[in-house]
Structures are given as structure tokens and as C-alpha cells.
Symmetry: C2
Subunit: 80 residues, 2 copies
């Protein structure tokens, strides 16, 4: 199911955003419980460069819309 | 105290981000419990235009660093 697949795809993200989407690095946002639509829009903005960010731009570049959709559903499912 | 003052300054924000920082509009992020440093950096990026956003750019423009610091502390103090 989407959330389980999203969780697998989130292994890279955990380094900065925390195992359960609860970031332990103050400059990086918590993702747990975040609005899925907002999450998707931001990841697409990173991917396109509309939201300029050297780290996230590179990480989002290879992601498909499907990857982003599943990551969004996974993180929205977590409790902050 | 900073959080109480931040709460007063957050009345405008509640329209999109919800009364307790829990957004009811899927394209707008929850702010409750978010990392204060991340929040501050994003508001300053909106204010400077480094993070382009027509709505947030205008809303952030008149804010001082102190306003942003207190808003950040207020939202970080809320439970998502």
C-alpha cells in the first residue's frame, strides 16, 4: 500500500527529518503529520527549482510524481 | 512572555494555518509543533524573497525579526 511503499522511499529522508519524521535538527522541519497536499507541492517546487534549495533540489530531482505522492501519504500518516 | 505575544501576533495567520496552527486547508502547512529555527528561516526567506511566495511574501514583509522570533516560539509550543 502507498504508505508502506512511501516509508521505504523515505529512508534517505530520515537522516535529516528523523526516523518518524520528527526532526532532531532545528533547521530541518518536522514532516510527521504534515498536510499531504502541502508536502507534495513543496517537493515538486524543490524538484522544479520554484522553491530554490541546494539540498532538497538535488534530492527531489530524481523523484517521480508517484514517489512524491507516496512520501506525502507516509509522512501525513505519522503522529508528531 | 514571548509565546503570549507571539500568539497575539498570530491572529492573521490563523485564517490559513488554523486557530491552533493546525491547518484545515490541505495546501497550507500545519505550523503547530514545527521547529522554531526552521520556521524563522522560512519566514525570513519569504520576507527577503529567497523563498518566492506571493501570499507569504506580502505577509512577511512588515514583520520584524522579533515578530518572527515570537511567532516561531508560539507555533513551536503548540501540539499538532
Amino acid at each position: 500500500d502507498d504508505i508502506a511503499i512511501g516509508k521505504q522511499k523515505a529512508t534517505t529522508c530520515a537522516a535529516c527529518h528523523g526516523e518518524q519524521g520528527v526532526s532532531v535538527i532545528p533547521m530541518y522541519p518536522h514532516l510527521a503529520g504534515q498536510q499531504a497536499v502541502y508536502f507534495e507541492n513543496q517537493m515538486k517546487a524543490f524538484r522544479s527549482g520554484a522553491r530554490p534549495n541546494p539540498i532538497m533540489g538535488n534530492l527531489a530531482k530524481p523523484l517521480s510524481d508517484e514517489d512524491i505522492r507516496q512520501l506525502a501519504l507516509y509522512y501525513a500518516s505519522l503522529k508528531l
